[in-house]
Symmetry: C2
Subunit: 217 residues, 2 copies
Amino acid sequence: MRYAVLGTGEVGRTLAGRLLELGHEVTLGSRSRDNPVAAQWATAEAGRAHAGTFADAAAAGEVVVNAVGGRVALEALRAAGAEHLDGKVLVDVSNPLAFEDGRPRLDPVESDSVAERIQRAFPRARVVKTLNTVNCQVMVDPRRVPGDHHVFVCGADSDAKQQVTALLGEFGWPAGRVLDLGGIRSARAVEMYLPLWLALFGRFGNADFNVEVHRTR
Amino acid sequence: MRYAVLGTGEVGRTLAGRLLELGHEVTLGSRSRDNPVAAQWATAEAGRAHAGTFADAAAAGEVVVNAVGGRVALEALRAAGAEHLDGKVLVDVSNPLAFEDGRPRLDPVESDSVAERIQRAFPRARVVKTLNTVNCQVMVDPRRVPGDHHVFVCGADSDAKQQVTALLGEFGWPAGRVLDLGGIRSARAVEMYLPLWLALFGRFGNADFNVEVHRTR
């Protein structure tokens, strides 16, 4: 499969690297064509790894992964171009993390979510929110954390969620540990989990944790 | 121990009933002295069970449990009287749940929390936020849900958190499953978990679930 990964930060590079390891073709997209991080990445992983603008990446990918921060996601996706997102699965792993006086804040929060904003702005993209509840190392290697912990998917398009569940399976998340929370509005629930994630990170001092949902059957 | 439980809704009655079972003396507090629900409860559980106003309850209790909704918590606690809260452990199990056009909303959210508002309004109370991340049946009987799932405590006063952890132990939560998230500000994290709880409730169709935090040790 050909993937576009938008964002050359740690999240984007981690996802792109793992997709390559899994045998996929990946274009790592950034704001400018001469982004040195992306260029170096593509050189080091020659063959199935490419670097380019957000638009280059989105044009090349059959599936597009939004791995830029939640606050700049719309801008990056506009640069990617609606015509390169139409009909494609758009995996949004971002969090609405902002900083105010050095303190983490959420923007948007509660009455909206990054994923909903993306879906509204690109109605023909098939947006699936997932993976934002874990650190990027855990995203692509859930075995870093012991136990049968869960990851969530949210989105309007069932087929797109199925496709993303299959991708999560490639990353090491069995289908039984992928919880479908419903439509894209439920992205608010997983984006608002961020403060609890940050509190646990503060308490543990590392990001190798995740939650398992236990229930009475 | 003598407990005040403020609030005669399902949460208050469930907590009060369990405290009685555990051998404690409980005053169930409500807005008015002739609340029929509270009066009936006290009659049915004669001896160690009492009913009264919020002020009657808070005056009688060595520990006060806020089990009214988050949006009316300050009003109920003002009626209880600051003089009856001074120096006491004040266990806040509420959620900032509001409804707008029939949809659940959070108020306050993100820049504040119910527990912080309570602590600011009653600086001499020793506020501990806990249990709001589970249904009231699970609060008092965690074995309803399989697995080593967790509950959280937040608050400025370590001794108060210790005391609440001991109470949680009486309810059936081993100390190892009580995660201390830090000061009262971390109450935002557990209050903002509510949308995820609601999404899971919507998906499962019942409230017998909770999360276990897995981590690499």
